[in-house]
Amino acid sequence: MILGFLKETHDRRVAIVPQMVPKFQSLKCDILLEFGAGESSGYPDASYGDAIKTASRNDVIAHSDLISCINKPDESLLNAIPSGKHMISSFESYMDDQIVGVLRQRGIHAFSMDMIPRTTLAQTMDVLSSMASIAGYKAVIKAADHLVKYFPMMITAAGSIKPARILIIGAGVAGLQAVATARRLGAIVEVFDTRSAVKQEVQSLGARFVEVEGAKEDAAAGGYAVQQSEEYLRRQRELIQEKARAAHVIITTAQVRGKKAPMIIPKETVEHMQPGSVIVDIASSTGGNCELTKDKQTIVHHGVTIIGDSDLADTMPQDASFLYCNNLLNFLKLVVKDGSISPDKENEIIKSAWITM
């Protein structure tokens, strides 16, 4: 069986890293890599050694049984893939209700990494977690880079610097990692989330949880947040408006699975923030938590820098690729048996991820 890895078009990551190649081979897979796929992650083709073959994009597509690409394939790629092939990617089918139909119609057997359940068992293949973790870390680093002041407190001969105040909205994986990183850098961290369950998690990282009472809970949602009431959102917005004036950095990670990201920071709030402040909006790809966010862009509004980037993992490609590659390998262990593709149709994880089943 041949496993093909495509080079990403707008992403520095690669789905396979050299040190993991032997593990893939022990699944009895041959590996075909598109020329230069790992280049931008710090893995030139040579670093993969002789064990794997490199080929042109078309050759990879033509000769592989299972094709892997990290990001949702665009139409042209889908069109290029012959019917009957298997494909692993993140198809974002929870956002795009067309895609499954398209794939089925084109006869592509698709496994979607972003549909793997968020259970304890599936953690080893949970790309959402591993990438969100990077995003949370990187969001803080980016904010520190753009902020016009220090994060930590400094009492120096040239004056005393107060520590930066950081507001983190949404304490999922990314949010928590942001909390940890900001606290490491010495900032004062406050966190908002609608799920009151995360309060303890936030405190377990030593940060303060700011509560807006009256959040709706839905344990059945499998850990994902549920859409909140209007009244709740209003009260939350008020409190945030207040806090935002005091914050030097806001990092927003609030997302609702399958829905547009909640708008939490309106334009007005931004305009009340101190010039030089920074907002990093990780939810930008689903619309952003800030009214002004422009996805994949960094804009300055009223002196406030607003970074809209949901693909921060891409800015740390080496570790991101390593983590993704691990996730992929662990998932493939469910899909590939003895060198051939034979996913266990009873397995919960396969059931969720095999979107064209």
Partner: protein, 468 residues
Amino acid sequence: MYLKFALDIVLLIAALAFIIGLRQQSSPDTARRGNLISGLGMGLAIIAVLFGPLQGAVNNYGWIAGGLIAGSIIGYYAAIKVKMTAMPQFVSLFNGFGGACAVLLGTIELYRASAGITSPGVGELLIICFTLLFGSVAFTGSMLAYAKLDGIVNDAKITLPRHQLINTFLLILTCAISIYISAVEGDISLLFVGTFLVISLIYGFSFVAPIGGADMPVVISLLNSFTGLTSAAAGLIYGSQIMLLGGILVGAAGTILTVMMCNAMNRSLLNVIIGGFGSTAKSGAAAAGSQGPIKEISLPDAAILLYYSKSVVIVPGYGLAVAQAQKDCRELDEQLEENGVSVKYAIHPVAGRMPGHMNVLLAEADVPYPKLLDLDESNPVFPQTDVVIVVGANDVVNPAAQTEPGSPIYGMPVLEVWKAKHVIVMKRGMSKGYAGVENPLFFHERSKMLFGDAKETMQKLVKEVKAL
């Protein structure tokens, strides 16, 4: 005359040996030596009493030697053979035998008085009755304590309704009989002696019956001090100063030890005696549910276990983060390392609530990176590990992931802590982890639970280890 002098000096030395021996036993470094000194004191005392000048001595050394030797052999072998874990009940058993001896002495003296062989005064009779009564309580009480600890007897089965009332009645009754015997100057029938003996023995049994299994150590200590007192009383009967002082010493030491044991459990002595079944045992048992019994470990025992091990692995989990116990954990680590214990941390990939959660915490506590083992490094280490401390982790050390195909976490790689010699699990109660599945580890034969908030428990543990 010189012999008497010499033996008197020997007795003084024996008395001092008891005191110094006990003193040294209260500090870990000298404890063993203290026991030896105390034992030597006992040997000296026996020799001195064996050969000391004695009015009206017939000696009967044959009988004596027979008794002493037989007792020594039995005692020695019993002590050698007993399993480490069964030691507390054996202490109780031994103590009961001491009490039994006092009962025999009291009975024979009472018999002699009733038979007119001797004619003791009021005071002496009171003392004889005291010996018999306290000896009996120590005897049957200890036997019952032994049976309870050994699991032969079930608490609930032997407690009567209004048991404390019965006990009070028995106590008053025995006291009344004692006073009566003394008042009539021993002019009683043999039957009466027998009745007194039987009632006393029953009282001893009944005294211990309502006390819960978990409180047995306290009770044994109390009964031990009773044996001491009864020995002292016997010393008065036989005019032996060393018995008197030795008995009083043990009586006093035993009493204060009993009180301290109660304090360590945050309970009062009265509460233990009348309160019935220990409350700690209850909470654990109630939560245990279907999966069989869990075993708790006390802080001191945990401290000893850790202190005297060679290698310890700490497995942190979300509970460590919630309790913010990372610094205290690090302190325990340092404390142990100082005493030559190698301490590592086994970090499960999904421990906590975000990737790298444990890393963040341990970095905060300044744990050096080389001490951290990841999953692949940890699992080969456990079989060579003496003690694993699981601090607020649950899912990540769940053996069901390997053994129960039906489990939602079946197939997840977990930390195989149960392969270590001992596992101490620190958590607040028996609640489940994030994945919401039962954890058979807690019922595993090698694991012992140490309940409480991780931070507090850690702090206390550090204190205990420091005291060693």
